[in-house]
Subunit: 128 residues, 2 copies
């Protein structure tokens, strides 16, 4: 389900949270799907349960999952986070565009780049 990259310098919990978030965003994990338990995923990845716990806590704070004590963690309904996600990527895009413009990228080049990306196939999760 998840592979840890030990060359990645970021904390493990952040890496795990990001990969699970990616699975949710891409639709691999559907709404209300049950996530592995803290302990089982920790066993699976050979890390400490505390590390998974922290990753799940972050995912919950970001709105991607919800927790039922005694039962487990479940994927939040996509309506809950899609608008926030859209706001997030829009802000990211704004910042990137400003940087590109200030670095001397012309408007035409930026628009071409955008059209090029939108012509690409949307890859599910075969990027890694």
């Amino acid at each position: 389900m998840i592979v840890i990259d030990y060359r990645d310098k970021r904390p493990l919990y952040e890496q795990v949270a990001e990969k699970i978030a990616h699975l949710i965003i891409c639709g691999v994990l559907e709404s209300n799907a049950k996530l592995p338990s803290v302990r089982s995923l920790a066993m699976d990845l050979s890390v400490n349960p505390n590390t998974i716990q922290r990753a799940y806590a972050q995912l919950e704070q970001d709105g991607y999952i919800y927790t039922v004590v005694g039962r487990g963690n479940y994927v939040t309904d996509s309506q809950e986070w899609k608008s926030g996600r859209l706001q997030e990527v829009s802000d990211e895009l704004r910042a990137a565009l400003r940087n590109a413009r200030d670095a001397g990228l012309s408007r035409e080049e930026a628009l071409n780049l955008a059209n090029e990306i939108y012509q690409e196939k949307k890859e599910g999760s075969a990027n890694d």
Copy 2:
């Protein structure tokens, strides 16, 4: 010249390097301008000289400044780093566009955003 933000969780040397890079990119520091010495900037910011040394080392590695032992650090001619910078921001823009597309932002919205940004005035350094 530079103000440190102690709420920023990143290392000080990274923060200092980024702020100086920003000054160079925006043209506040012109080509071949002399930077403050390691010791004087350290005094100025109330940090250790080693911290500034590390920031300068990073700036040199990124091509923004060059060092003359015994004399000081100087801003590199902009030709030296502008193409690399352009490549950098283009890659950043590509990634942001893919994220936006995958999150459901329509092509029209993305293009509108781009046009909107390119209509903005280019701000020198009044963003912070």
